[in-house]
Symmetry: C2
């Protein structure tokens, strides 16, 4: 069954970006740390990972049928130059359609009503039997709080960044409990896939 999942490379001290929005050379070092080449949907772009990570990365690349992201991520990535590198339709949760963009296209749909929940519903409608990826940060937090998430995928990297952007900030619904993870130990990364179980959301 298709899953709604959020995923992020997270430092050992809990950050998805370092000071001044940097640190990506550490957070994504694992994507170039191995010998196994895994092509992406974008010509010329590939991962070079350990054998252990390769299957996980292939699942990731081919497993998502649509993405849901926040406006901040869309703006921060400059709309990925017009198309997301995963070559799937991206549903952007926003208050208004950004200037110069069509409200809906094969590449992007700007969801201005109904928040993350509406965006996930629309994404499910196009993803078929594939998974829905939900961007980290505020969007993931809202999806978690509204019970929309099935999985949290943490690519834990052996670095400490000291400070930066936290994976999940000021979580209103905390404490939250998850199931035990599936663990894949790669090179410069530990992939941890935590199920969000119905009974477990809300540890109180």
């Amino acid at each position: 069954m298709p899953k709604v999942a959020t995923q992020a490379s997270v430092s050992l001290d809990g950050f998805i970006a370092g000071p001044e929005n940097g640190g990506f050379e550490y957070l994504f070092a694992w994507c170039r740390a191995g010998d196994v080449e895994v092509p992406t949907a974008s010509p010329g772009r590939s991962y070079k990972v350990s054998e252990a990570s390769a299957g996980y990365v292939r699942d990731m690349i081919h497993g998502y049928g649509a993405l849901v992201v926040g406006r901040n991520q869309f703006d921060g990535m400059d709309g990925w130059g017009g198309q997301h590198p995963m070559r799937v339709q991206v549903f952007v949760v926003t208050h208004s359609v950004p200037e110069g963009w069509a409200p809906e296209s094969a590449e992007f749909v700007f969801v201005t009503e109904g928040g993350v929940k509406a965006a996930v519903e629309r994404a499910k409608a196009v993803a078929g039997d594939k998974n829905i990826g939900v961007g980290p940060g505020v969007v993931a937090r809202e999806a978690l709080e509204e019970g929309l998430l099935d999985e949290i995928r943490i690519d834990l990297v052996p670095f400490m960044l000291g400070e930066g952007v936290r994976f999940v900030d000021t979580l209103g619904a905390a404490p939250l409990e998850f199931g035990d993870p599936q663990v894949i130990q790669g090179k410069k990364v530990t992939h941890l896939v935590y199920p969000v179980t119905a009974g477990a959301a809300g540890a109180r």
Copy 2:
């Protein structure tokens, strides 16, 4: 060879204590989550953990020959009632000997000169071929910054606490890189043992 290690139960969002110094029912849920009983050095106190965790816990209980902790931890635990439950000598890094305590005893040594480094040296002298445990927080950070640590042991638990006390706060030496961890997946815990390698401390 004996190792100097710091160890902590850490939430998925990076905390070793929750809001208002609480959350321990989540952070240490794994210690009662299984069927395998592992006795401690304290009569009547034991762990009940999964088979996978049991070996790790036995190593932990019998592996430490001495501990180094900060004054905050000593005060917060009220000196463990006069003896640490691991029944090993504890070296407390402090500016002054707390009132009512002997400067040195079989249970506690108050190290008022030379900081964490001096405390680790003194701990090594009594630990024989066993490991030295270094308390989390400021003491661990100083040990890390001064190159005294050999291992970081993270017991990662599948809970998010929202806010609280961070495992390593405002790390002056960040970014730091560690080796890939040894991973043991237990019940309600993922044990991650990261080597602090000489070349890796300091990712810059």
